[in-house]
């Protein structure tokens, strides 16, 4: 639902606008205020994910005067549905959900974060337990694999492309069991707790967990890694007022020049924000193609 106040420019529309505003008010039961609902995907432990974004939201609120409300999603794919159902005005899109949004939703991309190592991209890893003895795709047959979500690049699309590239046409039946952990850290955790033999996760989460838990580097091995795809950037519904878009963009891009913004970036785990556009998702489209996925027809919901 739109909660952005529109300024009245033409006296002729005044009557209709009033009527419209009244209707909106009666049906929504929500105060007519400037609030932006931003969706978050469960990239990692949902509680930690929210903790990570909270300071950023507060910072944007302070700089732009727009109330920011984050809403956490239990599934990557739900973001498309939620966006369609007008529950959200914007989201920090995963690379694949971003690609879906480019194709299916009118989303305008604003900016994406740059990792502490300087890259504004990430890649997907296929991981195995060292003690599993798995060296390649062939070794994986009959093993248990933990994907992240059907709507993730690193956690599904890339492994699918990898399997296709290595002669595994359909994972169904090839593995003893496959399941979706919903988050990258859960996938790695599943490996560490021997719930699964093969795991898929994005490199940023892998590195983060490696710092917290020494077992990650000690017990796990990277079998494959995907090409670079854009990091989780902010995309907004393109019907939102341009002034808000501009404000958001300016705030994010200038964050690293502001001492306060620098602190927030540190908590967020990034160096700075850079501009991003739909074109940046080319690599994702390519990867999807390799995986044999038709994005427009793709059923992105986990089964």
């Amino acid at each position: 639902m739109r909660r952005i106040k529109k300024s009245v420019r033409n006296a002729g529309y005044l009557r209709y606008l009033y009527l419209f505003a009244l209707v909106l008010f009666l049906f929504s039961g929500v105060a007519y205020s400037s609030e932006l609902v931003i969706g978050l995907i469960p990239e990692q432990n949902v509680f930690k994910q929210l903790e990570r974004y909270k300071p950023l939201g507060e910072y944007i609120e302070k700089k732009t005067g727009i109330n920011i409300k984050f809403t956490m999603l239990s599934r990557y794919g739900n973001i498309i549905e939620s966006f369609r159902n007008n529950k959200m005005d914007a989201a920090f899109w995963g690379s694949f959900t971003g690609a879906l949004a480019v194709k299916k939703l009118n989303v305008e991309f604003i900016a994406r974060p740059v990792n502490p190592d300087g890259a504004s991209t990430y890649k997907g890893y296929i991981l195995v337990r060292k003690d599993s003895g798995i060296k390649n795709a062939a070794d994986m047959k009959g093993k248990t694999i933990a994907f992240v979500d059907k709507a993730t690049t690193a956690g599904y699309v890339f492994p699918l492309a990898y399997f296709k590239g290595n002669g595994v046409k359909n994972p169904e039946g090839y593995f003893k069991e496959y399941y979706f952990t919903g988050s990258h850290d859960a996938a790695i955790k599943a490996l560490l707790e021997k719930q699964a033999d093969i795991g898929c996760a994005k490199n940023t989460i892998y590195e983060k967990m490696a710092k917290e838990d020494p077992r990650v580097k000690k017990e796990l091995q990277i079998i494959a890694e995907s090409p670079d795809v854009p990091s989780n950037g902010l995309g907004v519904r393109n019907t939102i007022d341009d002034s808000i878009k501009t404000k958001l963009k300016k705030t994010l891009l200038d964050m690293d020049k502001d001492p306060e913004g620098q602190k927030v970036l540190e908590i967020f785990g990034s160096k700075n924000f850079v501009p991003t556009t739909a074109d940046d998702y080319t690599s994702v489209f390519k990867l999807a193609e390799e995986a044999g996925i038709d994005i427009l027809k793709y059923d992105y919901l986990n089964k």
């Binding site: 432990n45 979500d149 919903g182 988050s183 859960a186 719930q195």
Partner: protein, 837 residues
């Protein structure tokens, strides 16, 4: 004393301190315990909330994958509450062991979160999902168990702590009570002791202090002891005596200064009053700063307001009249040089209205400590009016008030000037004209003094018109004027001026409607005569004028030595006359008066003669006027009267007949005193009053008819006879004549002498007089009958009494006596013969 107080207070303090320290120690302990209890209670609450949160999240966990699931955001909220609760627990104060447990617990909470998250986000077959769920539930139950256990343990601990704390509180109560009670008892004891120690001496000293404060200085207390109070009492006594002495001293001092102040204020007031009374302006010149204070009066004297005059000394000096300025400045300079000398100066100052005012300034310069003149101050008085009055006085002193001409003093001054100039320049000649109006007295008498004054003013104007500039005409007094003619080149010069004066004065004057004629007699003295004293020049001019008068008036005479000699002679005569009576130089001659009816003698007229030791016999005409001028006439007149009466008495006794005696009176004798003189003479001689004839002149009675009338009446009361002498020569008012108690008229000899010589005119006059006398019922006596012809005429006119050479000259006493006897015994004829013989 001090020790006692200190010791008492110290004991008190110690008791209290011990109690306080104990109390504080226990209170501190109790506080710590209580705060711990409170803290634990809080922790208990937190733990309770942790248990609640855990239970909530567990419930969420069971419902998350069901249709009753909350929204993920809400679950996240609950988890966050749980997270916060566990965090709070770890931040509380706990024993290290407990802290470790709590940290462990928090770790478990995080793991629990992970498990929940995995379960929530996971998508797999039911077994796997159930596994994930169980993992999380197990973790949750585990946490719940730990938490409840901890809660149970801490509850017990809390109970113990609370009990201990309350015990401590009770102990504090007891200690406090004991301390307070002990302190109170000791304090009461100390207070009673101290009061006893202090009150007695204090009240003693207090009483003494009251005495002093009520004015009883010098009061001493008898209190003695060895403590500080004893010392205090001792010092108090000394102080009291000192106060008394000082007070008396101060009192005297105050009195003296009050007197001095009074005197000063009195002197100030007096000065102020004096300055105000004198209406003086004040000035005060500070030499160092060159600023001058001018008082408001000083400014107002010059017509200025207070703020119109600045404080520069130029405000003063620039207003001084240019002619006076140098003098003022030099006076001030002199005063500054010798500061003891007063500065006194009179000068003119420019008033605001543009006129100059006379000021008198007085001042005195004052030296400072270093001996330099520091200031000069003084007063300024306006003396314009005084100056004008002075000038007026000076003018008046030198001028005649009536005519405004210079007076005698100024004239003499000018004369002296001229004289000095003449001494320097040999050919410088000047002269003095003494001008006397002719007949001025007549004008005065006939037209009154006002017209007389007018005439004098008019004459003075005409005289001024006749003179050249620089020449002086002065009024000396009365109708006398003096003129100083200077630098005379020739006699013509002078004569020219004199003629002009005389011509001018002879022109008629119109005075208040009266046409008045006058002329002047002028006497002249010339500087060429070589005067030593200028006064003599005026004197000689006066003499010359006198001669001009003698020589017929309306003319001038130049003084010569003969005139001087004449005057000197006259003066000599005057001197001799003063001694003539006492030296018996006077004697009387008697001229018989004949009665025509009988041809016999009727009486005598007494005539005075002066037998001058050097000059021989002098006739009255020569000395009577001098006697009148000098006042000798009164003594002389009295002597004549007495002598005549005495002689008459002798003769009347000899011949036993009532012959009469005529005595001439001078105008000067004609005073009320005359009556007593005449009375005395009559009484003294023992004669009949009616045989005494007093001969008076017309002018004597006409000059003041009223008083004369009164005097004549009084004389008449004595029964004496009154005759008018020289009738016809003077001025007579016939209308008055009949009012006087007269007895006879004596026709003047000038009328008789002309009978038969000139014409009949005189005879007619005599005839008229005789007729007048006849009408007034008066006798007529003809004087100066010398010829038979005259006798015949007079007989014809019915004139009964005669006197003259025809009958007898004035005779000495013996001859007169012989003539008397012969006349009475024989006839008139024989008497005439004797005379001729």
């Amino acid at each position: 004393m001090k020790k006692k107080i200190i010791t008492s207070l110290f004991i008190l303090f110690t008791c209290f301190s011990v109690g306080a320290v104990l109390s504080i120690w226990y209170i501190h302990d109790s506080t710590e315990r209580l705060s711990r209890v409170i803290e634990l209670h809080q922790v208990e609450n937190i733990r309770r909330s942790l248990v609640l949160s855990l239970q909530t999240v567990q419930a969420d966990l069971y419902s998350v994958k069901t249709g009753f699931a909350r929204e993920l955001d809400s679950i996240i909220g609950n988890v966050r509450i749980l997270d916060k609760a566990s965090e709070n627990c770890t931040t509380c104060h706990h024993s290290p062991e407990l802290t470790k447990n709590l940290q462990e617990m928090q770790k478990l909470v995080h793991q629990y979160q992970d498990y929940i998250s995995y379960y929530i986000t996971g998508s797999a077959n039911e077994n796997r999902l159930e596994k994930l769920k169980l993992q999380a539930v197990e973790q949750g139950n585990n946490l719940l168990g730990i938490t409840q256990n901890m809660s149970h343990r801490s509850s017990r601990h809390l109970e113990t702590l609370s009990k201990n704390a309350m015990d401590n509180v009770n102990k504090v109560k007891t200690i406090m009570f004991i301390t307070l009670l002990g302190t109170l008892l000791i304090a009461i004891f100390v207070a009673v002791k101290l009061i006893n120690f202090v009150t007695y001496p204090i009240s003693n000293l207090l009483e003494a202090t009251r005495k002093i404060s009520s004015g009883d200085f010098g009061f001493t207390t008898s209190y003695r002891d060895s403590t500080e109070f004893g010392e205090l009492a001792e010092h108090f006594n000394i102080m009291s005596i000192t106060v008394k002495e000082e007070y008396e001293k101060t009192q005297k001092e105050i009195q003296r200064s009050m007197l001095a102040e009074e005197a000063l204020s009195e002197s100030k007031k007096r000065y102020e009053l004096a300055a105000r009374g004198a209406n003086d302006g004040l000035w005060d010149w500070n030499i160092a700063t060159n600023k001058t204070y001018f008082s408001p009066r000083w400014k107002s004297m010059l017509g200025f307001e207070e703020d119109e005059v600045k404080d520069a000394p130029e405000e003063w000096f620039n207003r001084v009249h240019p002619d006076d300025r140098k003098r003022v400045e030099s006076e001030i300079a002199g005063s500054l040089e010798t500061p003891t000398a007063h500065f006194i100066c009179e000068y003119r100052m420019l008033h605001k209205d543009g006129t100059y005012r006379w000021m008198l300034s007085r001042g005195l310069a004052v030296k400072n400590e270093s001996g330099l003149v520091a200031r000069m101050a003084g007063s300024q008085t306006e003396i314009t009016e005084r100056k004008i009055a002075e000038e007026q006085l000076i003018h008046d002193a030198f001028h005649d008030t009536l005519t405004g001409l210079p007076n005698r003093v100024l004239f003499m001054d000018r004369l002296k000037h001229a004289d000095r100039r003449a001494a320097r320049h040999k050919d410088y000649i000047f002269s003095v004209l003494f001008v006397d109006l002719d007949r001025f007295k007549v004008v005065n008498d006939s037209l009154g003094h006002a017209i007389g004054d007018e005439l004098l003013v008019a004459v003075s104007q005409r005289l001024e018109e006749c003179l050249r500039p620089g020449e002086t005409v002065a009024r000396l007094g009365g109708d006398e004027f003096a003129i100083l003619l200077e630098d005379i080149k020739s006699n013509n010069d002078m004569e020219h001026i004199i003629n002009r004066i005389q011509n001018k004065l002879e022109m008629p004057f119109n005075l208040s409607g009266n046409e008045v004629f006058t002329s002047a007699s002028i006497g002249i003295s010339l500087s060429v005569a070589g005067y030593v004293n200028p006064e003599h020049m005026l004197r000689d001019a006066d003499i010359a004028m006198y001669h001009a008068k003698l020589n017929g008036r309306a003319r001038y005479e130049i003084f010569d030595e003969r005139m001087h000699a004449h005057v000197v002679a006259r003066l000599q005569l005057e001197t001799d006359l003063r001694h003539a009576i006492e030296n018996h130089q006077f004697h009387l001659n008697y001229q018989p008066i004949m009665l025509m009816d009988t041809g016999k003698i009727k009486g005598f007229e007494a005539l005075v003669r002066w037998n001058h030791p050097n000059r021989g016999l002098i006739m009255p005409a020569e000395f009577i006027s001098i006697a009148e001028d000098t006042g000798i006439i009164l003594a002389l007149g009295k002597w004549v009267l007495e002598e005549a009466c005495k002689q008459l008495s002798i003769w009347q006794k000899q011949v036993a007949c009532d012959i009469s005696m005529g005595v001439n009176l001078s105008i000067k004798q004609f005073t009320p005193h005359l009556v007593s003189t005449v009375k005395d003479a009559i009484l003294h001689a023992g004669i009949k009053p009616e045989s005494l004839i007093l001969e008076i002149t017309e002018s004597m009675i006409m000059e003041n008819a009223e008083s004369a009338s009164k005097l004549l009446a009084e004389l008449k009361l004595l029964n004496v006879k009154l005759h008018i002498d020289d009738f016809g020569t003077g001025y007579s008012s016939l209308s008055y004549l009949h009012q006087f108690p007269l007895d006879a008229l004596k026709i003047d000899r000038s009328f008789i002498a002309k009978i038969g010589i000139d014409s009949d005119e005189k005879l007619e006059i005599v005839k008229a007089i005789a007729a007048l006398a006849n009408n007034l019922n008066l006798d007529v006596i003809a004087e100066g009958v010398e010829t038979v012809e005259q006798l015949a005429h007079l007989r014809h006119l019915n004139c009964k009494n005669m006197q003259g050479y025809l009958f007898s000259r004035p005779l000495d006493v013996e001859s007169a006596g012989k003539f008397l006897r012969q006349s009475l015994n024989g006839d008139g004829e024989s008497a005439r013969k004797q005379k001729e013989g």
